[in-house]
């Protein structure tokens, strides 16, 4: 490993650095979002504790999520929205352990249309995928993924998305899809899962959340923009 002795850049400290940037970029309407991010990040001078991800894995996913969901005037970055926390909890939980998945062999190498056929649980698959990606970027760019420049990260992800990155063992395109899917889940799911902090994505697109009892308004709102403060599970609990 190239950077063995250099301490792994702590993604949450990184997030702390990113806050002022995000805050300056955030236009007035989203100010509350920036404030929330600042308060959320403030006490976390120490790295956020992870349930299952190693420092290398957390840094990798943080870099992916910030490339997939970069900070701009529409939302804070993926990491600042809590996506690493989201995926850490998911991978540490039942889903990550392979719950609700048929795991008996034999494991066939067969048509892609038949879907996922590896013996790995999602936790194991992410571990393998991250290691494979880092090995590939090290070979191609001389560095692990999270240490690449933003343009190189985007380029590397594009290579994976198009299946052009040659990984040993697993398919880069399918692993990219899994990372992308996890980003979208973390970004858009209810904040109760640790991502979508301050309902950043719901504010971004105008999703009002829940509960939604529209019967009385379904006609009145038809064809009109509905501007209401989004509400999440925690708001009703």
């Amino acid at each position: 490993m190239a950077n063995k002795d250099v301490p792994r850049r702590d993604f949450l400290k990184g997030a702390g650095v990113a806050v002022p940037l995000a805050a300056t970029a955030l236009a007035g309407g989203l100010a509350s979002c920036a404030e929330e991010t600042t308060t959320a990040a403030a006490p976390a001078a120490a790295p956020e504790p992870m349930l299952t991800l190693t420092a290398t894995e957390a840094a990798f996913l943080s870099a992916c999520y910030d490339t997939i969901i970069p900070a701009d005037d529409l939302s804070p970055s993926g990491t600042d929205c809590g996506l690493v926390t989201y995926i850490d909890r998911q991978l540490a939980g039942a889903w990550g352990g392979g719950a609700r998945m048929y795991r008996s062999g034999p494991f066939l190498q067969t048509k892609p249309e038949y879907g996922y056929q590896l013996p790995l649980s999602p936790r194991e698959y992410f571990a393998a995928g991250i290691a494979a990606t880092n090995a590939w970027t090290t070979k191609t760019y001389g560095k692990e993924f999270d240490r690449l420049e933003p343009t190189q990260r985007a380029e590397a992800l594009t290579q994976m998305e198009q299946g052009k990155a040659e990984f040993a063992g697993i398919e880069s395109k399918i692993f990219f899809d899994a990372v992308l899917q996890s980003a979208m889940e973390g970004f858009f799911a209810d904040p109760i899962y640790g991502g979508n902090r301050n309902k950043a994505s719901w504010r971004m697109v105008g999703y009002p959340g829940l509960p939604a009892t529209w019967a009385a308004k379904a006609e009145e709102y038809r064809g009109k923009k509905v501007s209401i403060e989004p509400q999440s599970i925690a708001d009703f609990s």
Binding site: Y102, P106, E113, G115, Q117, A189, A212, W214, G223, V226
Partner: protein
Amino acid sequence: MATKMKSVDAVLVGMGWTGSIMARELTKAGLTVVGLERGANRSPKEDFALPGIRDELKYRLRHQLMLDTATETLTMRHMPNETAAPMRRWGAFPMGDGVGGAGTHWNGVTWRTLPSELVLKTHLTERYGRNAIPADLTIQDFGVTYDELEPHFDRFEKLCGTSGKAGNLKGQFQEGGNPFEGARSDEYPTKPLIMSQAGLIFTEAAKKVGMHPFPTPSSNVSTAYTNPEGQTLGACQYCGHCEYFGCESNSKASPNICLMPVLNADPKFELRANSYVKNLVYDRQAKKVTGVIYINRQTGEEIEQPADMVVLCAYPFNNVSLLLSAGIGVPYDPNSGKGVVGKNFCLQTMSNVQLFVEQEINPFIGTGANPASVDDFQGDNFDHAGLGFFGGGYLYPSMSGGRPIQVRATPPGTPRWGSEWKKATTDWYNHNFAISAHGTSYAWRTNYLDLDPTYKDAIGRPLVRMTFNYSENDRKMSVFLTDRVMEVARAANAKILGNPNPRTGNFDNISGQSSHHTGGAIMGTDPSTSVVNRYLQNWEASNLFVMGGAVFPQNPGYNPTGLLAALAYWSAQAITTQYLKAPGPMMQA
């Protein structure tokens, strides 16, 4: 050695829509009935409560209410000469589990079917000639007619409080309804739901191109309604959390709210949840099923439940699996076309196109049932001469909720991530919807079900092996139907149209296909081409009945529940008025 329970009059395997209907009809006729359900019991008050039920990740993506594939799944392959692989996670579709079955988390679209679909082979032969039907298109008649089923469609709609507008009342055409439907004896129990913006755009565009839109019949009821069982449904709240979710306002008809409270209060009925039926006990000599063996999933204990009569209400895959493992009926052979069990497995042929529009769509204000439909290109509602295929489907604007993990289309060419993606998502989230085609799946020689030779479920039974691909007929049909979708879409003044996706590729377990499975234990009037007779009674074991989509010889272009529920009522009527008087075959082979 299995623990043997006291014998009952009837044992039902599965407690979804068909199981609960059958349980109610049989207990009403005085029988003692045990309902065995593989999954857990469910109470809407506890299990579908706010705010937790509005959780897209848990229910939609992680399939919380669905069958766990580690308990049971299918294996899949496209053609009979391939090795099947297990569906390790749900991708193409999920399956239901627990009391209420898939009726707990369905969308509530409630169709009857076209009269001609029930006599399909006869109808197409008469209209186009015997030679017009290719040999591999193994379609058949149901053996029951629309007129015979009409009172039973009506009963199910009244059970559910279905919202809609009649198009044909006792032969009289009704303004605003579906002009192609068979004659109805009565209006829908509740008026149509409020039309959404997507519904208005679709309706206007469809009219512009000369089609005949109408409000989609929906069991998300528009107003509070008390059904003939004395159960009350609330008015739909347009919450956009319908398919894959339980309904917290009790406005989506389900076995749980329409029937279970009555059954639970009835001493003649006993529900046993967590009871996974492993096999049928078959007396080959007597040609009688004497009961079932099941596993108590909480203790692991193996239990035998003897009964005078057994009704399979376990969804097509398990119904077929139980028949095959008991050796009841000749298994289908796709090469010779002989045999019946597993034959004519069908799905549904879906396609759509995304519209990006000026108007505010508010996708989150939605009901499970899509707001409007067009039936002009359903079944044989149009002339197929020279088209090279049979079948069709209905068109509809699909927008049943704006749940953002999944519902956030962007125009073609948009990257899937990065700032440009974020901008497009933000711009279009509230300005898009799809127009879809919900098409027929007509039986094809090589599509069938049998038992997998390799893979087993959690209790050691072989998994069902599904051999299925979109047939030549259905692919051509899909191209045609998708062109009709495009006609409507072009008339809708969209700013941008997405790329249409007719089903010309292979069936896969990656993208959503359809959770409407039919066939495998098909009904008919000839034991050499069907598994059950027109009363859904098994030809071989006359005290065995099979319910559900399994009995459809092929799948019409409608969501199946209206038809399979009507068939359950029809069968129950035959059982209670004929069979019980003189148990034995109701039709001679």
